[in-house]
């Protein structure tokens, strides 16, 4: 798909990969609705993009809230017009330092699923019917290698990302022949605040830059990754 003129929602857009994605997509001519929980950091992330004349909007919302899907979809349509692409990038690790499952409170597991699984589900639900009706649309789930491999202390996050991957594949099956594509992207280990919170001792030199990963994801959007696929970014 050509990104020029497309209307895109990016969640988790105030930092890390979401911020880099917003910039890369807007540079390619997309109109981006940047969504994040806190208005302050979100405005800070968007201001330099607007200053460069890139078309971005901001919307403070918590994707984990029950009514968030309809509200984000409605406000995004009001600000930018008919939405073509949604990138479910927002996610939470839960409390850090990460804890083993035996030491994970069920509230923390619930919170991880609320943001990482239910959030994307709700927002997709609010957008997908219109996409099907128009016969086009792209839904991207940002996953993790923790969705595939079991790492000690990554249980809550990993289980929620595995569930997200499964949602992604199921959406793709159900939306076959509708013109709506659903893909899951594993961005690999990136040099972000989130990574530092989880693994503070990691050698940052070995970590991918969010901007490079965002470029790779933009190319995935422009390419023809089949619906239902799970794409690993190698950078």
């Amino acid at each position: 798909m050509k990104l020029e003129g497309k209307k895109v929602i990016v969640t988790g857009a105030s930092r890390g990969l979401g911020r880099a994605l917003s910039e890369v997509l807007a540079e390619r001519g997309a109109e981006v609705v940047m969504v994040a929980r806190r208005a302050g950091p979100l405005e800070d992330a968007a201001a330099p993009l607007s200053a460069r004349g890139l078309r971005v909007h901001t919307l403070a919302a918590d994707v984990g809230a029950r009514d968030a899907g309809a509200r984000i979809a409605g406000a995004a349509h009001a600000m930018a017009g008919v939405i073509d692409v949604v990138i479910h990038n927002a996610s939470t690790l839960g409390p850090t330092p990460l804890a083993a499952l035996a030491d994970t409170r069920d509230e923390d597991l619930e919170a991880a699923f609320a943001v990482n699984v239910l959030g994307p589900f709700r927002l997709t639900r609010a957008l997908v019917g219109g996409m099907v009706q128009r016969g086009s649309g792209v839904i991207v789930h940002i996953s993790s290698d923790a969705a595939i491999d079991a790492y000690p202390t990554w249980g809550a996050y990993g289980a929620s990302k595995a569930a997200l991957d499964h949602l992604s594949r199921t959406w793709a099956e159900e939306l076959r022949d509708t013109g709506v594509r659903v893909v899951s992207v594993d961005p690999g280990d990136m040099d972000t605040e989130m990574h530092a919170a989880a693994l503070p001792d990691a050698d940052r030199a070995t970590l991918a830059k969010p901007a490079d990963v965002a470029e790779a994801i933009a190319r995935i959007l422009e390419g023809d990754a089949p619906s239902g696929s799970r794409v690993r970014v190698r950078s």
Partner: protein
């Protein structure tokens, strides 16, 4: 006459009932919405209203007085028509709400957060019908509206509904101040059934307005002029169907207003934006739609009058009686009627 009970919560899935009202034969048939597709004729064009529902109810204060401001329709960017309600909540019948305080041009209504409505004009026909401008404007207006606004509720509801529950499955741009409710039972699976049965399913966007204002004089003017937007593909599909004598089925009276309003104004269903003040009723000359999928409504409701564009009062009364006797639920979240005119 026994009245239908209102659906206090959304009817869902397989419990969703459908009365098929055949205006030609006068027959009534008690069915489920799950069997909607058996009524499709190959070549039908079914037209949806893809407008999403705005969080159009705003709690506010004028001086020391609590008020509720309900958006009615956008006039231009940042300027809206709106209806002011006095103290009370959605649990009160709109006709029994306290009257709103008198306002004048220049007055300001504080609406929570940074959102403010500035009164520009009070309509001479009703002191509660206002033209307002909002601050802030642009994106900041939409952020504030979605942060503090709630969807318009109905006094018959058992609980306050969230925006997601007052939405159709295929909603896009948020233009309607109340749920365009006819389309609510149409899940993606139902729409797929229609297509498989040979129908083309197309959409337009129509800004459905308020269903009640609490002022009988103002209620009598409803619906106020409403704007719509007809995509090229939808206009083309409808005009082709008309020239080939295939059926156009309207999902909801808002779709009927847009299609018939456009035809009345232009002599064809013309693509692009428009506004219509068409009032459907027994004297409406329908030139586009020959069937209507709609919510089940009582003869007492304002909506009922619109249905007379598709069927006689006698038949509609029989349909209402049948619906009441057979446990159909009425209003925005209830059961459906398919009127084949």
């Amino acid at each position: 006459m026994k009245a239908m009970r209102a659906a206090g919560e959304p009817r869902l899935g397989h419990e969703q009932r459908m009365l098929v009202v055949d205006a030609a034969s006068g027959e009534l048939s008690d069915e489920r919405v799950t069997s909607l597709a058996i009524h499709v004729r190959p070549g039908d064009v079914w037209v949806l209203n893809d407008s999403a529902t705005l969080p159009a109810s705003l709690a506010g204060r004028i001086g020391d007085t609590d008020v509720e401001l309900r958006l009615s329709g956008e006039l231009s960017s940042g300027r809206w028509r709106a209806v002011l309600f006095g103290r009370g909540s959605w649990r009160d019948d709109t006709d029994r709400r306290h009257p709103p305080p008198r306002v004048s041009p220049g007055d300001t209504i504080a609406l929570g957060g940074s959102l403010r409505a500035h009164v520009e004009r009070v309509d001479p026909r009703s002191a509660r019908l206002l033209e307002i401008s909002f601050t802030p404007r642009g994106d900041a207006f939409w952020r504030a509206l979605y942060a503090v606004g709630q969807p318009v509720q109905y006094s018959y509801l058992l609980r306050e509904l969230e925006l997601r529950e007052l939405s159709t499955a295929f909603a896009g741009r948020p233009w309607s101040v109340e749920l365009p409710s006819a389309g609510r039972p149409l899940t993606l699976e139902r729409l797929r059934d229609l297509r498989r049965a040979g129908a083309a399913v197309v959409a337009l966007t129509h800004a459905a307005g308020l269903s009640a204002t609490g002022d009988p004089a103002l209620d009598a003017l409803l619906p106020l002029p409403e704007r719509y937007d007809i995509p090229d593909a939808t206009a083309a599909a409808v005009m082709r169907a008309l020239s080939e004598r295939r059926r156009v089925v309207a999902v909801g009276t808002s779709v009927t207003r847009a299609l018939e309003g456009s035809f009345a104004a232009h002599g064809e269903v013309r693509p692009g934006p428009g506004e219509t003040d068409l009032r459907l009723g027994p004297n409406t000359l329908r030139r586009v739609s020959c069937a209507l999928f709609t919510g089940a409504h009582d003869p007492s409701s304002s909506h009922y009058e619109l249905l007379r564009a598709f069927a006689s009062s006698r038949l509609l009364e029989r349909a209402s009686r049948f619906s009441a006797e057979h446990g159909y639920l009425a209003h925005e979240l209830g059961d459906s009627w398919l009127i084949l005119a």
